[in-house]
């Protein structure tokens, strides 16, 4: 048993997967046509925005030793509710408030079920996942809800920053890498929740809860309140991502984001967040989300059959979990 924390181990624990991403990114740039083009980079960033935003709070769920399966359903349902309320009232503010309110409510219910009723997180969030998915279909009548108020579309589509990216070889017009609001929302979440997990009592208490719940309780941490806060935040952030997605799609879609919860959890675990709790950093989440997104993007560009993409994603997840197991064995537990 190596008692000394080697420099390499410290580096690898926090930034190892970012390094893996960097290598992957360089390989894709060299080997995959059009990968580095401005259009593709735009698409890549946009495709990871939703996963990345939700992964920020999933980091807290996982770090506390639990997880939340209801996020995909919350994304869809919050979008539908927002669309319906905007159409009904004509107010964008009311619509967004309704969507966020729904997310917060679902999160609060999850938190109460887990903390107060003592129901296992798998079962509690599996139940709310289905309930909320069902409610989304019920209120929308199973169809997508188009939004008439175009002012709302700004949220998901506005180009906030345009980075010059050379000129088009054919038209000789300047090209730009457009950064839209969903990407900025995701970046803001990376910053905010990264700060919360590593620099605040809330974050450290979450890690202690996941590392040893009873020890955390006896050390004076109110673990029930903490769990409720974590799940409420998760619901709120999933709803926010759902509203942004709804704006991006210009409609509330009850079918969207099925299986998103597993994508988010796989990304976190791939990046190095421990499934058993107590270990997790924002750098893990960023790396996991980017690796997943890049692999997906490269497979699309290389015309990999979509059936094979499922197989590949499963294999990557399996590899990630094996790494988690090996790490645990490393700590001799």
């Amino acid at each position: 048993m190596d008692k000394n924390v080697s420099k390499f181990r410290v580096f690898w624990d926090s930034a190892g997967m970012l390094l893996v991403f960097a290598v992957l990114f360089i390989l894709c740039s060299l080997r995959v046509d059009h990968f580095l083009s401005a259009k593709n980079m735009e698409g890549l960033l946009l495709s990871v925005a939703t996963t990345g935003t939700i992964a920020c709070t999933m980091l807290f769920c996982l770090a506390s030793g639990a997880f939340d399966l209801s996020v995909g359903s919350v994304v869809a349902c919050a979008g539908v509710v927002t669309a319906l309320v905007i159409n009904r009232t004509g107010s964008i503010t009311l619509g967004i408030a309704a969507g966020l309110g729904l997310g917060l409510l679902v999160g609060l219910v999850n938190g109460l079920l887990i903390a107060k009723a003592g129901i296992n997180a798998l079962i509690a969030t599996l139940a709310t996942m289905q309930i909320v998915r069902g409610l989304g279909y019920i209120v929308s009548g199973g169809k997508s809800v188009g939004i008439v108020n175009e002012g709302f579309f700004v949220l998901g589509n506005k180009v906030v920053i345009a980075i010059p990216a050379g000129t088009n070889p054919f038209s000789h017009q300047p090209e730009y890498l457009n950064i839209t609001t969903p990407v900025l929302v995701c970046l803001a979440c990376f910053g905010l929740f990264g700060f919360l997990i590593s620099r605040t009592t809330f974050g450290r208490n979450t890690l202690a809860l996941g590392g040893n719940a009873e020890a955390a309780r006896l050390a004076g941490i109110s673990i029930d309140r903490l769990k409720i806060m974590i799940f409420s935040l998760q619901g709120l952030v999933a709803a926010a991502a759902g509203i942004v997605l709804c704006s991006q799609l210009t409609s509330g879609q009850p079918k969207t984001s099925e299986g998103l919860e597993l994508e988010v959890i796989s990304a976190c675990v791939l990046g190095g967040v421990s499934l058993t709790g107590g270990v997790g950093k924002m750098s893990h989440v960023v790396a996991g989300v980017l690796i997943m997104g890049t692999v997906q993007n490269a497979m699309n560009l290389s015309n990999v059959d979509s059936f094979w993409q499922y197989v590949a994603r499963g294999l990557i997840l399996l590899a990630a979990v094996s790494v988690d197991r090996l790490k645990q064995r490393g700590t001799g537990r």
């Binding site: 048993m1 020890a215 941490i221 109110s222």
Partner: protein, 497 residues
């Protein structure tokens, strides 16, 4: 012909501990042989080696001249050994008959022969004098009957060596009589009966020989009960030389720091009342299961109190919630460090700062990283915690250093009363005396200390006053001067009736 069981220089080592140190003695068939010793003397380890649950580090045992080292419990069962533990190993949702023949159900081609099973079971039950329907589910039966079924189960497997681990702890006196009748029957058949107990009255009522273990060593075997007194046995149980590792120095005591008034709750059989003064060290002794940890957890609020009151320097605490206790200056170092104390995957610094950091965080939640570093570093230095760095995961530290980290956690708070549950369990001698020193420094600063220990010398050497618990209630309070080993032990040992 009676069976004969002999232990031959049995050694069992765990990392850092020698639980059994060359134990040799013989138990003759046709006798009930008592096995006695304080907590941690090695009785349970010896039973586990007999049952095949542990493999000995060295040595062996002999049944009827045949040498054995059981690699598994199955091997021990095959050799005719049965150990009947306090917690019974029956499957509650299966029938009595199924439990009796579990693992060797009569069957043809995998199909159970129901009639034969029932008849065999009835015969076994009749032998132990029980009129139980073999088709009854075990979960419907009271504990006493389940215990008899456990005995019958041992007999269906052809057990010739039967060990009982405190079998009467949950029985009424009539049920005890019944059990004794059956044990005497087994004795008459020439079986070897090992009988582990803390109850002197049972030893003198039932047993024909007594073996005493202490600190993993065989101290003495009394081959007959004639002329033997309770004091003889107690003396050999406790008689060890007290080394001066405590460096006890008397301190002045102030007003009451902790007042416990008629506290009740799960694990207690009577309301508990006592107090600890500022600067006083109170030791609490009792056998395993006497309710000491339960009482500490109730005082701390880890478990909700159902009645009574706890006051810290005169101010009452809320009925539950460690948070409120910590705010009031009452803290607990739990017995099971691994389960209740440390957060294993987090760093040493994190484990030290986990509680006190809230006083130093900006706006109540943004960590003051300067304070975090400084606080961890100063405690690592002042308590000489041996760790490669403050960032090392705490699981890599030795037990003694983990305990010091937990002490550091509470020294970072404004502590008025500290509760320590077995503060030196599983800790090597060197670290022990360091922890004794820290405890005395705390008391010298005016902190009220209440510590629970199963080690009598520790209680006698460190405490200004000794409280004793027995069967879920306080059974004695002795001042440092008047407390001898046997006086304390007499308060702690159960009286039946």
């Amino acid at each position: 012909m009676p069976t004969r069981l002999a232990f031959d220089s049995v050694v069992k080592e765990f990392p850092g501990v020698r639980a059994l140190d060359g134990v040799s003695f013989t138990a003759e068939g046709g006798q009930v042989h008592a096995l006695m010793g304080e907590n941690g003397a090695g009785k349970s380890t010896l039973l586990k080696i007999l049952s095949g649950a542990y493999s000995p580090t060295a040595g062996s045992l002999e049944i009827d001249g045949q040498r054995h080292v059981f690699p598994s419990t199955a091997a021990a069962i095959a050799a005719g050994v049965a150990v009947i533990y306090q917690e019974l190993f029956l499957v509650p949702e299966m029938t009595v008959a199924e439990n009796l023949y579990l693992g060797h159900l009569p069957a043809r081609g995998g199909v159970i022969k129901g009639r034969q099973l029932r008849e065999d079971a009835r015969r076994q039950l009749a032998w132990i004098g029980e009129d139980i329907d073999p088709d009854t589910k075990v979960s419907y039966l009271p504990i006493a009957q389940r215990q008899l079924i456990e005995i019958a189960k041992a007999l269906t497997r052809g057990a010739r060596v039967i060990a009982f681990d405190e079998p009467t702890s949950s029985l009424s006196s009539r049920e005890v009589d019944r059990l004794f009748t059956i044990i005497r029957d087994l004795r008459a058949r020439g079986h070897v009966i090992l009988y582990v107990t803390h109850r002197m009255d049972e030893v003198f009522a039932l047993c024909d020989a007594v073996t005493v273990l202490r600190d993993g060593r065989h101290i003495k075997t009394f081959d007959g009960m004639a002329g033997l007194t309770v004091d003889d046995v107690i003396r050999s149980m406790v008689g060890r030389d007290l080394k001066n590792v405590f460096n006890y120095t008397p301190r002045p005591h102030g007003g009451p720091a902790l007042e416990v008034e008629a506290v009740t709750g799960p694990g207690l059989t009577a309301p508990a009342s006592f107090s600890v003064a500022k600067g006083e060290i109170v030791g609490m002794f009792g056998l395993v299961g006497a309710g000491r940890s339960e009482l500490l957890r109730l005082i701390y609020g880890a478990e909700r109190r159902t009645g009574g009151q706890v006051r810290i320097e005169g101010r009452p605490l809320p009925a539950a919630g460690p948070r409120g206790s910590i705010e009031a200056g009452l803290v607990l170092c739990p017995e099971d460090r691994k389960r209740d104390g440390i957060v294993p995957v987090r760093s040493v610094a994190e484990n030290i700062n986990i509680s006190a950091r809230r006083h130093h965080a900006t706006a109540g939640f943004v960590l003051d990283r300067g304070w975090e570093r400084a606080n961890a570093a100063s405690h690592i230095a002042s308590l000489s915690i041996k760790t490669p760095s403050a960032a090392t995961q705490i699981v890599y530290l030795s037990g003694g250093n983990q305990q010091k980290v937990i002490l550091a956690r509470w020294l970072s708070e404004n502590v008025k009363v500290i509760l320590l549950d077995e503060p030196t369990r599983g800790i090597d001698v060197g670290a022990k005396s360091e922890i004794y020193a820290i405890i005395q420094q705390l008391a010298a600063r005016g902190v009220g200390v209440l510590f629970v220990s199963s080690e009598l010398p520790e209680v006698l050497g460190l405490a200004d006053r000794i409280l004793v618990m027995r069967g879920g209630a306080l059974s004695g309070a002795l001042a440092r001067g008047e407390a001898g080993e046997s006086a304390v032990l007499k308060c702690a040992l159960p009286v039946s009736g």
